[in-house]
């Protein structure tokens, strides 16, 4: 029993404690909220401590309690990869809990906070167990706990019908994904005779290539549904906005990463070498997900839905790293494979941090303005300056602007794709080129989207009168956002050290055992193994800061004293009102028009007239601009119709008539007796 193991088990006790006390005190809202958040904070801290001790001080720990009943055998293992994910989950959970303590106050009197605390603590516990489970059955149980707890959190605000629908869609999709995962595990069990991951890893040569490929496809679909890759993403844009903001931060920042974790675990750790088409498939899926995710985000005006689509985009970017790693691995280019996996892991961490920050900022604004539509915002920077500042930092991070963390991980992803273009043969090279092109396009479009979101939400004049009465959020919200914003800067500036640590983690993965560490920590620079590229973010941060300060001092004070007068914006002689500013619709219209073939925008105009029968005097026009739901209409609706049709054929046999059923039993019995006699 070592220190890391102890603290992890303490965390596993603290979360259920929080759940139970929260439900026990559910009549007293303040107490329920307090205990729920307190235990979540304490549990997260133990999780962080345990993960750090594994990553920096000890190797791994395993807790193994096998028993003759498979359902009772309990096997946990935390190696470096699990520890990294536990660290990410716990850090974001810690800050989401401190945020949630203040945020939940606006549910007082409306919803039951005991339920919130209960499911929230179970959700986090489920997530950290998912990344440490070492037995397929235990994994499925905690996976289900995580999904169910998040389902109840999604429908927490149950008075809104939209949330219930979103929850139901999430429920169906996650269970469909779980079905694929179960199938994959069953195939592994059939080949190796065991559900324990260790045994499977050691008996890998018992698995035939066809089974291996089948497991790959099933796991890709199953875990891809949780991660939100296109076209299995349809639950994400409805479910993430429906949940309370700190839960959205957790779902978007860390829950979808558990899908990525299992993909790394299965494709690189349990199967040390797959064929090259695995990597290329994931590269293409990543490229498509990233571009389509950001295009749909540009067409959205619900701030949380927009952030959910950006999660899809960033999962695409992580998959670009993962796909490159698989491709390089199957070609034997191990140093590039480590570079790619470092890119994927780093982007996982960075996305968790800045997405949580952005969702917290959005939640802060929504809780004050009571609307999610960015067309009703405007000028909020004057009333909520801290939220605006931290949201700006989050926007800069997600647009990959140096020296923040998003830039560091996108830089490494680019380098791994460039390595692919330089070093691999014909077909794979074009896959890498398409991937690099899509990453470049995605980065630019994400920039455009966040200029729009930040600009329309926080800048210029308020578009609704109620904005002028709002005030800054309470301390716990601002504090959590400040810590995350600081973290984006720290992770960016010290990206050299972070990537060195991550390459050590990558080493622990089976496929890369014994390979060379790639980064140089001395100059705090990130450097690729063969000297193709290097960048030092601390120097960028430092020199840019000095230049900015110098420019500011010189140009503010050196020229003669000029006055700065406050006037109104140039209004061309009319009255300035909120309609004069750019709208979110107008801002993104150019891009939607350019990509009209992909987005299929639609415009519906309804006119009501003053007189019933005469169409000469219009009273009001309603214009509805939308984008086509192509996944629903081309994939899910046909699938639904097919299922219904098959079920209706089955209805011929399952007709509810008991006599028919007795007849079926009789016939089958006769057949079995005949077969038994013939044998």
């Amino acid at each position: 029993m070592n220190f890391a193991q102890n603290t992890f088990l303490i965390a596993l006790l603290l979360f259920p404690a929080g759940a139970i006390t929260s439900i026990a005190f559910n009549k007293n809202e303040r107490l329920a909220n307090f205990t729920g958040s307190l235990f979540a904070v304490l549990g997260s801290i133990s999780g962080i401590v345990s993960a750090i001790s594994i990553l920096f001080y000890q190797g791994t720990f395993s807790v193994n309690m096998p028993s003759t009943f498979p359902i009772l055998s309990f096997a946990l293992k935390m190696d470096s990869l699990s520890a990294f994910f536990v660290l990410v989950i716990s850090t974001i959970a810690l800050l989401a809990s401190t945020y949630g303590y203040g945020y939940a106050k606006h549910y007082f009197g409306k919803y039951n906070l005991g339920n919130l605390g209960f499911f929230y603590n179970l959700f986090i516990a489920g997530m950290i167990l998912v990344v440490t489970a070492n037995n397929a059955l235990l994994f499925l149980i905690v996976w289900e706990i995580m999904s169910l707890a998040s389902y109840f959190l999604v429908i927490f605000e149950k008075n809104e019908k939209k949330n219930i629908k979103a929850g139901s869609l999430y429920f169906y999709m996650t269970h469909a994904g779980t079905a694929f995962i179960i199938l994959a595990f069953l195939l592994l069990y059939r080949s190796t005779g065991s559900l324990d991951f260790e045994v499977i890893r050691n008996s890998i040569n018992l698995i035939s290539p066809i089974t291996r490929d089948a497991v790959f496809i099933l796991a890709l679909i199953g875990f891809g549904t949780k991660a939100g890759i296109i076209p299995f993403h349809i639950w994400l844009p409805s479910a993430h906005p429906a949940a309370p903001s700190h839960v959205s931060a957790l779902m978007s920042g860390v829950m979808i990463k558990t899908g990525i974790f299992m993909m790394i675990r299965i494709f690189l750790d349990i199967f040390p070498g797959g064929p090259i088409w695995w990597g290329i498939t994931i590269l293409i899926i990543g490229a498509i997900s990233s571009i389509l995710g950001v295009l749909y985000a540009l067409a959205e005006h619900d701030i949380k839905k927009l952030l959910a689509y950006h999660s899809i985009e960033n999962i695409g970017i992580i998959l670009l790293g993962l796909g490159s790693a698989l491709t390089f691995n199957s070609l034997g280019l191990h140093s590039f494979a480590i570079l790619s996996i470092v890119a994927a892991l780093f982007h996982t961490l960075n996305h968790a941090v800045f997405k949580a920050l952005l969702f917290m900022g959005a939640g802060s604004v929504i809780s004050k303005t009571h609307t999610k539509n960015i067309e009703e915002y405007g000028g909020i920077i004057k009333y909520m300056p801290y939220t605006a500042l931290f949201f700006l930092i989050g926007s800069l991070a997600i647009s990959a602007i140096p020296p923040f963390n998003g830039f560091a991980s996108e830089w490494i992803t680019f380098q791994s794709l460039f390595a692919g273009i330089r070093s691999v043969g014909s077909v794979a090279e074009w896959a890498f080129m398409i991937a690099a092109g899509s990453l470049a396009l995605t980065g630019g479009l994400a920039c455009a989207c966040f200029v729009k979101v930040f600009g329309i939400t926080f800048l210029a004049r308020p578009r609704r009168e109620n904005i002028k009465q709002i005030t800054e959020s309470s301390f716990s919200l601002v504090f959590s956002m400040a810590i995350l914003a600081l973290l984006t800067l720290i992770l960016g500036v010290f990206s050299g050290s972070v990537s060195a640590t991550l390459s050590r983690i990558a080493n622990s993965v089976m496929a890369f055992r014994g390979e060379v560490v790639i980064s140089n920590v001395h100059t705090s620079a990130i450097r690729t193994g063969d000297g193709f590229a290097s960048v030092s973010l601390p120097s960028i941060f430092l020199i840019f800061g000095i230049l900015l300060a110098l420019t500011f001092i010189i140009f503010k004070f050196i020229p003669k004293k000029q006055r700065e007068r406050k006037v109104i914006t140039w209004d061309c002689g009319t009255n300035l009102g909120p309609r004069m500013e750019i709208t979110a619709t107008g801002f993104s219209r150019s891009i939607i028009t350019i990509f009209a073939d992909i987005l299929k925008p639609s415009k519906e105009v309804k006119t009501t007239f003053h007189e019933e029968n005469s169409n000469y005097f219009p009273k009001a026009n309603t214009v509805n601009l939308g984008t086509a739901e192509i996944y629903r209409s081309y994939i899910y609706e046909p699938l639904h119709k097919l299922m219904t049709k098959i079920s209706s054929y089955a209805g011929i046999w399952q007709n509810g008539n008991v006599n028919a059923y007795i007849l079926y039993i009789f016939i089958i019995l006769i057949i079995l007796l005949i077969v038994g006699a013939v044998k």
Partner: protein, 278 residues
Amino acid sequence: MQNRQGASIFQPYSDLKKLFRKDELISHDASWIFKFMPYILFSTTLLIGFALPLITTGIRNGFFGDFLVIIYLIALGTFFLALAGIDAGSAFGGFGSSREMTLSALAEAGLIFSMLTLSILAHSTNLADIVHSVVSLPLTSLLPVLLAFIGFFVILLFETGRFPFDNPATHLELTMIHEAMILEYSGKRLALIEWAAANKLLIFMAIGANLFFPWGIASNLSLNAILIALGAFLVKVLILSAGIAILESSIAKYRFFRLPDLLLTSFILSMIAIGLIF
């Protein structure tokens, strides 16, 4: 070609001097982003200058001389420029920002790939190393360099706000891209922004001249080499400027929705250039 007598070539300096002396008018609706943006924009151009081999590769910036860093530092300036355009709350600034961000998103791929072509040929992403290697390339590698240069030149025209993307001398707000975002600025801040735009033009011309046609650049810090390099640099920039000016006098500004096709063409040219290397 237009039968008019232009202003003196030192007119931009007189404009800057005039603007630095003037008072400023700042809108009630503007926030600290409006007030800070010129400093940020100007500092990014200075920072990029630290990484660019202008006349010698004897000083090699190993810290941020990477071409991706340059591209994303430009994106930093553009991000704040677009925000400042929205900040004052005027309709012109808003749609100027919208157009700039739309085209900037599409141009980024072309820019990255044109410089990637050179990186692959030079086996390094550091700008000084690229200059060093392109000087000694065999003749067969010149075709990819030329194709990548054409792709790069299209992006240069966009990023610096030249024809056919944007008319830098227009007074019609509805046709502006860059000018529309800075419409609310005056005085010192406007001077800084104009200076930053001029810096950006020099940066792009320096990249085009030195990376794609690096002959004449000094490889050490000796006085002779530097003088020759300075002369060569001036000649190359003069040729590029003359090229831009001739282009500006002969074609009209394109309609906005024709511009994405042009940017896509630049991207495809660079892709073909990379394909030709192997």
